[in-house]
């Protein structure tokens, strides 16, 4: 990773929970907005339910920052609503997600050293 990209990626951290979860979901493959919302709610046990405003506001911001891009690939129109817009993560988005994960890992290590981490947290 070139030094410039690395520092630019670190410059965007800390990410909001919504943005990080969207990156996590898109890391697995392309998704449309509503699928992202459902997946995030499932992953967090319903603790993070993104409303349409927060979800599409975050997607718009992430598109502007170049973290994600719109995918032109569409599933069969018989299987899905053709008006849906699909998104995928960019290489830069991956770097930002990695930088955020590294930041969180350092934080977790620090917390573990200070307080210990319960086995079934």
């Amino acid at each position: 990773m070139p030094q410039e990209d690395q520092s630019a990626a670190e410059g965007l951290t800390p990410l909001s929970p919504a943005v990080f979860h969207i990156l996590l979901s898109l890391g697995e493959g392309e998704r449309h907005g509503y699928a992202l919302r459902r997946e995030i709610a499932l992953r967090t046990g319903g603790k993070l339910k993104l409303g349409p405003g927060v979800l599409y506001g975050s997607l718009d911001k992430m598109l502007e920052l170049g973290l994600i891009e719109e995918s032109s690939d569409r599933p069969d129109p018989h299987l899905d609503d053709e008006r849906r817009r699909y998104y995928r993560i960019t290489p830069y988005g991956r770097k930002v997600a990695q930088a955020e994960a590294a930041r969180m890992r350092e934080l977790v290590q620090l917390a573990a050293a200070r307080f210990g981490v319960p086995k079934h947290a």
């Binding site: 509503y34 339910k49 409303g51 349409p52 599409y56 997607l59 718009d60």
Partner: protein, 292 residues
């Protein structure tokens, strides 16, 4: 949209979002809302939706504002001459408007800070009996056309007080100068009836060598100190005791006011109902025995 279900219609709250976001995502957001409507209880859904609107709208507007601001500054930087002329035109326009409004406000909108300002008139180049204070006061009391009259003369003088000297606008006035227009000093008092000075002197210390200072001067020279009463101020070297502070907005005195005898102008008020024309005619007639 008569076929729109009631549950979806309120989602027109989407109109609250900035146009850019609406253009790109309104259909997707509405679709997401419809999907969710099929899965959740409607009331709960609306609560979540309103919370979502409250959380997401301000950052969207802030982002749009930041984008517009960046775009604006880039345009300005690209065309510095156009920008300069636009700013200059705006500055001139705002300045001119402010100036015109100040004049309109002072002349038309705000009334004078005097009691019954519509009955006040200022006469210049008119000499009424003023050989002595007693003569002037007798003249104004026997007037049947003027309810009252006061004398004042303005000039610039060297003013000193609290160790600082400055050139200031000074008014010498008859003792009824404050009582006539109903002006109440904010601190201390106006002039007392016996404080008129005959001749061209400055009065006797401890008796009638007194002054009322303007509100602005009180703030600038004495820092608004309420202990200013009784302190000495020097006008062209002559010590005067400060007995009061004029109210803010009372333009006479500009800075300082002294009880005088000499006068260049009068400050009469008409009797209620007496037209200005009659009063002027009477004053013209009354000049004859004085100068005749």
């Amino acid at each position: 949209m008569p076929d729109t279900p009631f549950s979806v219609r309120p989602y027109r709250l989407l109109q609250l979002y900035p146009a850019g976001l609406r253009r790109n995502y309104a259909a997707a957001m509405e679709r997401a809302f419809r999907d969710e409507l099929q899965e959740s209880h409607e009331a709960l859904l609306w609560l979540r939706l309103l919370a979502d609107l409250a959380v997401s709208i301000p950052p969207q507007f802030a982002r749009e504002l930041a984008q517009d601001t960046r775009h604006t500054f880039r345009l300005w930087a690209r065309r510095p001459w156009h920008t300069g002329f636009a700013i200059l035109a705006l500055a001139i326009g705002i300045g001119a408007n402010t100036g015109v409004f100040s004049v309109v406000n002072a002349l038309l909108l705000r009334s004078l800070p005097f009691h019954n300002p519509e009955r006040l008139a200022s006469l210049s180049y008119f000499a009424m009996p003023h050989d002595s204070a007693a003569q002037f006061h007798a003249w104004r009391r026997q007037s049947s056309y003027l309810e009252d009259a006061a004398l004042f003369e303005q000039f610039d003088a060297n003013l000193g007080g609290a160790g600082e000297w400055r050139r200031a606008h000074v008014v010498q006035a008859s003792s009824n100068f404050f009582s006539l227009p109903g002006a109440q000093p904010v601190l201390g008092r106006g002039f007392a009836p016996g404080e008129d000075v005959d001749g061209t002197g400055w009065g006797l210390p401890g008796r009638n060598a007194v002054a009322v200072i303007g509100y602005g001067l009180w703030q600038q020279l004495f820092g608004g100190d309420r202990k200013v009463l009784g302190s000495t101020i020097r006008v062209d070297g002559n010590p005067l005791t400060i007995v009061g502070v004029a109210p803010p907005g009372f333009d006479y005195p500009g800075h300082c006011c002294l009880p005088p005898s000499a006068s260049m102008a009068s400050f009469p008020t008409r009797l209620p109902g007496a037209p200005m024309k009659w009063a002027c005619e009477w004053l013209s007639a009354s000049r004859r025995p004085i100068f005749g």
